[in-house]
């Protein structure tokens, strides 16, 4: 490369290399071409060319969620950049570390409505943790160093760097980033000892304590501390959708997921608790239902790394701002000194009564695949380390209810934003980050269609994921609500999707249609083997019971303790 001047584009590549980036998901285009040219010349890390920029963002999310490393996305200006918006919003809601680099028109054209100009800094301000528009190539090392630090530290989140073309092509000095400039950004880590002590005092007096653990435990790698804390004090644990895997399903203290589609016993345990320990969880409305009647008699101990979550959705009696894992470790140290621990035996017995009264069951019909059954059978074929990705809808809630997650980072799902179309690209990203594992993507027939173009990406890069489309030819969750709350007016909820096994084959992947329960397990065994053997994605188009419902369910606006329980027996 002697003789070639060192430009902003080279500085971008060097900055990414300095951060240890191994893989970028992106799409080339006009204003980002100088950076792609630098990628070509340096050839220092992998790049995945996607079908659509939204796919790139979700892939980066899947990669980040599977590995804990920041996902990196690169697109051109204008439409390339605006196509990232859904993925950035999704990452923001689920606190996924992402760094997005978008091309931009030259600084002299900014604000002139130039070709493929979009104000990405303005557009993404509310959906990124922070964003930058680089004004000069000399700033690049610091901007990138700060961007990665911000994305990963504290409560993680997406960061966007908007890169005007003239910055990318202008010559600059090759150098390391200098230490970060003074800023008020100082993410907390340890909890304040006084608050930890106050929290422990409340917990020690508890008779009916309950832990509500969220995705923060997974970000903090605090699952071991959570298990130890729960076991030490015999406190039952319920995990939110984002927290599934943070506490082993099937454990004697496990209550499954709470909330709108949570287990009856999780919701009843929270409702009747006298101390609720909320950790790494933002008490989203899908978790709390009617806030006034969520844990009405409990003292709330709220542990979160984001101080703004204290009291945002609900009052809290003791707030501890800090990394969920660190705070649990501090609380463990305190609780181990106790001479007298809370006696929860009677409480656990009461919970066992609820478990017996409201078991997780579902109706089944002869010769028809119940989606819950397919999920349970899949779990039997996979190991506890394998990764399950979902789209959004009924299938997602059923996976959360019926798949026994026992390890962190084994469920990747769009929680906060509820992005249909998340599944397939996120599964691609997850598989690229965890090549030694099986990655299975459960999706609905509506959700799968939304980013189906990424099948081409999965084939091109030989990603051996298995997509299980639970196909009921409905936008199932919408249809369920229409049946329950809209007097069966099925407005625009029936799908007419193509045969996904054939679609898969046309894309160069493999596919199989599954109609009967007896075909499901053999088809899945074939799919898991064929995907690895041929290094190709496999799509199973699984025809399921059309009117299967996600139950239990708390009607919107209702109290969690007043849920509609599971049904069993024959399908109607």
């Amino acid at each position: 490369m002697t003789g070639t001047p060192y430009t902003g584009a080279d500085a971008v590549v060097d900055a990414l290399r300095a951060q240890g980036v191994e893989l970028i998901f992106g799409m080339v285009g006009g204003q980002i071409m100088p950076v792609y040219d630098a990628l070509y010349r340096h050839r220092c890390f992998g790049h995945v060319l996607v079908g659509h920029e939204q796919g790139a963002a979700h892939m980066a999310e899947g990669y980040a969620r599977a590995t804990g490393k920041p996902g990196v996305v690169m697109t051109t200006s204008g439409p390339g950049a605006t196509n990232l918006v859904t993925g950035l919003a999704d990452a923001f809601m689920d606190s996924t570390p992402l760094v997005a680099i978008t091309g931009q028109v030259g600084t002299s054209l900014l604000g002139n409505d130039a070709f493929q100009e979009a104000d990405m800094r303005g557009i993404t301000m509310p959906i990124t943790k922070h964003n930058y528009q680089v004004q000069s190539a000399d700033e690049l090392p610091e901007v990138f160093a700060e961007a990665f630090y911000v994305a990963l530290s504290g409560r993680p989140g997406p960061v966007l760097i908007d890169l005007p073309r003239d910055v990318a092509v202008s010559e600059c000095e090759r150098r390391q980033a200098t230490p970060l400039p003074p800023t008020g950004y100082k993410p907390p880590f340890k909890g304040h000892p006084l608050q930890v002590e106050r929290a422990l005092q409340v917990i020690q007096k508890a008779k009916r304590p309950c832990i509500l653990a969220g995705g923060g435990i997974i970000h903090a790698s605090g699952h071991k501390h959570l298990l130890e804390f729960a076991e030490l004090l015999n406190i039952p644990v319920t995990t939110t959708l984002m927290g599934l895997g943070a506490f082993p399903a099937g454990h004697r203290l496990d209550l499954g997921m709470p909330g709108m589609h949570g287990t009856g016993y999780a919701n009843l345990s929270i409702y009747n608790s006298d101390v609720l320990i909320v950790t790494g969880c933002r008490l989203d409305d899908r978790v709390t239902g009617n806030v006034q009647r969520f844990a009405p008699s409990a003292k709330i101990v709220h542990i979160d790394i984001d101080a703004s979550e204290m009291g945002k959705n609900m009052h809290c009696d003791v707030g501890v701002v800090g990394d969920a894992g660190q705070v649990l470790m501090q609380m463990l140290a305190g609780a181990r000194q106790w001479e007298e621990k809370p006696d929860t035996a009677a409480w656990l017995k009461q919970i066992d009564g609820w478990k017996a009264k409201y078991p997780m069951v579902y109706p089944q019909s002869e010769g028809i695949i119940a989606p819950q059954w397919a999920i349970q059978e899949t779990a039997k074929l996979l190991s506890s380390d394998d990764i399950v990705v979902t789209g959004v809808g009924q299938h997602q809630m059923m996976v959360a209810q019926y798949y026994p997650f026992t390890k962190p980072r084994t469920l990747i799902s769009s929680g906060g934003l509820g992005t249909m179309g998340f599944g397939l690209p996120a599964a691609i990203g997850a598989q690229m980050g965890a090549q030694d594992k099986h990655v299975v993507c459960f999706d609905g027939d509506g959700s799968f269609l939304m980013n189906i173009q990424e099948l081409a990406t999965a084939v091109r890069y030989r990603v051996p994921l298995v997509a299980i489309v639970l196909n009921n030819a409905w936008l199932g969750m919408v249809a369920q609500w229409q049946r329950m709350f809209f007097d069966k007016r099925m407005s625009q909820s029936e799908t007419a999707v193509p045969p996904y096994d054939k679609v898969a084959e046309a894309f160069g992947a493999m596919g199989r249609r599954v109609e009967k329960p007896s075909e499901f397990v053999p088809a899945l065994e074939w799919a898991l083997a064929a995907a690895k053997d041929n290094k190709l994605p496999v799509v199973l188009d699984v025809m399921i019971e059309r009117e299967a419902e996600v139950l239990p369910m708390v009607p919107p606006g209702g109290a969690n303790a007043e849920f509609i329980p599971c049904k069993s027996g024959e399908c109607k």
Partner: protein, 192 residues
């Protein structure tokens, strides 16, 4: 009656777009901005935004915490509990016939305001002070007929404490910040 006004001082990095970040945050989270003032500080890298929020304790607590989440924000302090100096400026163009001038000049005198312009149909009066004083001046001039008013946002300095207290530890693991007590201002209010 729970609706009150809370002045919040915010130190921010002096960089493009920072005002949009702060204003956008207030808009999308539904906080009600009563007044906003932005200016340079003794440090050219730092700007100071003073925002007066209307609402209750919970609103101002959330507003302060949400502001602290912004990476461009260096320091946030709810000044409502501090002994403080608070100033805003208003220019008031009031109808004034030559006969009415004396009366108005007496008001100007009482409020220690200034007259910046006089012609045969109106006067422009400049009044500086806290919110109550400026509003009182405007109320007193209303009977004469106010033609237009231009007001600045309020600016606030606490009398005894520097806003920079607690900033020494930026970047380190945990440093108690008197304005960012982990107990949260929220709990402080709850106990009262």
């Amino acid at each position: 009656m729970s609706e009150q006004y809370y002045p919040i001082s915010v130190l921010v990095r002096n960089e493009p777009g920072v005002l949009a970040r702060v204003a956008g945050l207030f808009a999308r989270r539904g906080f009600n901005i009563t007044s906003l003032a932005v200016g340079e500080t003794e440090d050219p890298q730092v700007s100071r935004i003073t925002v007066v929020v209307g609402g209750d304790h919970h609103t101002v607590d959330q507003a302060a915490k949400q502001l602290r989440r912004l990476v461009s924000v260096i320091k946030v302090r709810d000044q409502s509990q501090q002994p403080r100096v608070e100033r805003g400026l208003a220019l008031i163009k009031v109808k004034a016939t030559p006969e009415q001038r004396t009366q108005i000049l007496q008001l100007v005198d009482v409020f220690r305001a200034n007259v910046d312009h006089v012609d045969n149909r109106c006067m422009i009066i400049e009044v500086a002070g806290n919110r109550n004083k400026v509003e009182a001046m405007i109320d007193n001039l209303k009977p004469y007929g106010i033609m237009e008013v231009a007001r600045t946002g309020q600016i606030v300095l606490a009398r005894d404490r520097s806003i920079k207290e607690g900033m020494e530890g930026a970047g380190s693991a945990y440093v108690p910040d008197p304005d960012e007590d982990p107990q949260g201002t929220y709990n402080l209010y709850q106990n009262n």
